[in-house]
């Protein structure tokens, strides 16, 4: 795997590239895409995921289901960098005929499922996990969900299903940025205590700082190699809009777009 310094450098680079994408596609959900940057970096550059960019349906790949599809534009530069598709495509985001929209779908090499509507990923992932067990495959199924997404009832149907069916090959990562579109989750439905809820439903849980690559790597490595029979959840505490002062801490940052000038200024500062 790459060193943690390299992973930190990659994370900085992904943030820059995400801002550049946002400049070309102001409709992209910037704040939501900035909170899972380190999660994507550790999964793809930290040696956690097994994948083959030349054969995206490779049977021996780990499956990553991006359930919070709206907040995954930051994965585009990573997939391009790893040759899932041509880097040139990044410059065409949101233009006519481009397969890169502001919300990813299965026409983008590397995306397994349709992700625009939240609350579907975990249930579909349960079906995939069940199928892999049936095939006696050792591959894992990772799911990235938002925390606001856990408001959806179908998620809890899947949470019950996963533990009852001992889907030990299923690892849910909650990008716990604590906000949804209209503000803080604690002022909407109050998801906490999240870990206790998962424990009560029979899941193995861990919590980390979702911007700390060492913590993320250690937790994901452990969860991936854990042989116990429970499904696993990693609560990654993150900040929505991480790294961008105009977004971080703004309860309405979900739909906030930055101007081209603001982006240029931030990129200048980050040099």
């Amino acid at each position: 795997m790459n060193s943690f310094d390299t992973l930190r450098d990659k994370s900085k680079w992904v943030r820059k590239e995400t801002l550049k994408l946002h400049k070309r596609a102001p409709e992209s959900r910037l704040a939501s895409s900035l909170s899972p940057v380190e999660i994507f970096v550790v999964l793809y550059y930290g040696g956690i995921l097994s994948y083959d960019p030349q054969n995206v349906q490779w049977e021996e790949r780990d499956r990553l289901i991006i359930s919070k599809g709206h907040g995954a534009v930051s994965l585009y530069p990573i997939l391009a960098d790893l040759n899932f598709f041509d880097k040139e495509e990044l410059t065409k985001i949101s233009t006519e005929d481009s397969f890169l929209g502001v919300i990813p779908d299965t026409s983008i090499p590397g995306f397994e499922t349709i992700n625009g509507a939240v609350g579907h990923g975990l249930g579909v992932a349960c079906g995939i996990a069940l199928a892999l067990k049936r095939k006696t495959s050792n591959r894992k199924v990772f799911v990235l969900s938002g925390d606001g997404e856990l408001n959806e009832g179908a998620i809890w149907e899947a949470i019950m299903f996963a533990s009852y069916h001992k889907l030990s090959n299923l690892i849910l990562i909650v990008d716990n940025n604590k906000m949804s579109m209209l503000g803080y989750q604690k002022e909407i439905l109050g998801l906490e205590p999240l870990e206790e809820k998962f424990n009560a439903f029979g899941w193995k849980t861990q919590t980390v700082d979702g911007h700390n690559v060492e913590q993320l790597y250690a937790a994901l490595y452990d969860l991936k190699n854990d042989d116990n029979s429970q499904p696993k959840v990693l609560v990654a505490n993150t900040h929505k809009g991480k790294g961008v002062p105009q977004l971080e801490g703004d309860p309405l940052c979900h739909v906030k777009s930055l101007s081209a000038e603001q982006i240029d200024n931030i990129l200048q500062e980050w040099k």
Partner: protein
């Protein structure tokens, strides 16, 4: 008539799937805590490939999608109204949308379409499914009129790897098709009775009513009414169907569903209108309201003026 002539579509389907599951270990059967006597053997003999997901239709679709994405053939079984409407957005996103560029062989089996759960009241009547499923791209809409068609559909469902909605009547019904019939799945419709001026185009249980009326009018008035059974609303070979329809001066569509909402009537009127054919069209089915009155399905259809007598009267009033 021997016992085997009358049968539920559900039992015919499940018995055939049971046979297939023996020979093909890539078939799963999932249920949203919904049963049938014929399912008991399947549940017992395939403990690892029969899964009761609980009363959770949304998860039923999602789990089925995941299994199908990994190459398995999945049957997902539930009460029709709850399967199609509780989980509609799951069907739309994970089946209709996703199957446009992924191979997904999920076969939704909805039992209790139309007013077949007549006595259970409006929560269990399923009068919307034809229109709402038909509007979704990439989904096969199968609406059989008897258990022979239903049984024969199983081979097609395994080989044609697209999401499908199989809408089944809950009641035991006599067979219409011959056991030896060779069903042309690429056609989607079949002219059961050839008539002279007027024909009834129907689907599901209503095809039984259409056949009964055609027989009565033939005996009493020597009036030859045609009957066309639409068993696949989608995909359907419109040219073949139009070539039959154009022989008639008047076409009556008959469905146990809300009319003028995108179901069978809209399919047929679209076919006729696009070809600018001079055919009189009458649409029969449920009016735009739910029914709280208790009663048999015949009584329920009489409330919307498409009971047997209503249809006969309508046919007699047609001037051709």
């Amino acid at each position: 008539m021997s016992n085997v002539q009358i049968k539920t579509m559900r039992d015919a389907l499940i018995e055939k799937i049971y046979e297939k599951m023996y020979g093909d270990d890539r078939i799963f059967f999932l249920s949203a805590d919904f049963g049938a006597p014929s399912l008991d053997r399947l549940r017992k003999d395939f403990t690892s490939r029969f899964i009761n997901v609980g009363i959770a239709e949304q998860n039923l679709i999602n789990i089925s999608t995941g299994l199908a994405l990994e190459g398995f053939t999945v049957y997902a079984y539930a009460i029709a109204g709850f399967l199609t409407m509780r989980a509609y957005e799951q069907i739309r996103t994970n089946l209709s949308l996703s199957s446009q560029n992924r191979q997904i062989n999920v076969n939704l089996i909805g039992v209790g379409t139309g007013a077949s759960y007549d006595m259970s009241g409006p929560s269990h009547h399923c009068l919307e499914d034809l229109a709402i499923i038909r509007t979704l791209p990439n989904i096969v809409l199968f609406s059989p009129s008897d258990w022979i068609l239903t049984e024969k559909f199983v081979d097609f469902s395994i080989n044609f790897k697209k999401p499908k909605y199989i809408r089944l009547d809950s009641k035991p019904l006599p067979r219409i098709y011959e056991k030896s019939a060779n069903i042309e799945w690429n056609k989607g419709s079949y002219e059961l009775v050839r008539g002279s001026d007027v024909c009834v185009v129907s689907t599901g249980y209503m095809t039984h009513r259409a056949l009964k009326i055609a027989k009565e009018l033939q005996v009493r008035n020597n009036n030859k009414i045609g009957v066309i059974d639409i068993f696949l609303l989608k995909p359907i070979d419109q040219e073949t169907l139009f070539n039959i329809l154009k022989r008639y001066k008047c076409v009556i569509t008959l469905e146990e569903a809300f009319i003028n909402k995108g179901g069978l009537d809209s399919l047929i009127s679209g076919i006729i209108r696009r070809r600018k054919a001079d055919i009189k069209l009458i649409n029969l089915g449920f009016e735009d309201k739910y029914i709280f009155k208790s009663g048999s399905r015949d009584f329920l259809s009489e409330l919307s003026h498409f009971g047997e007598k209503d249809i006969i009267r309508a046919i007699k009033e047609i001037e051709v």
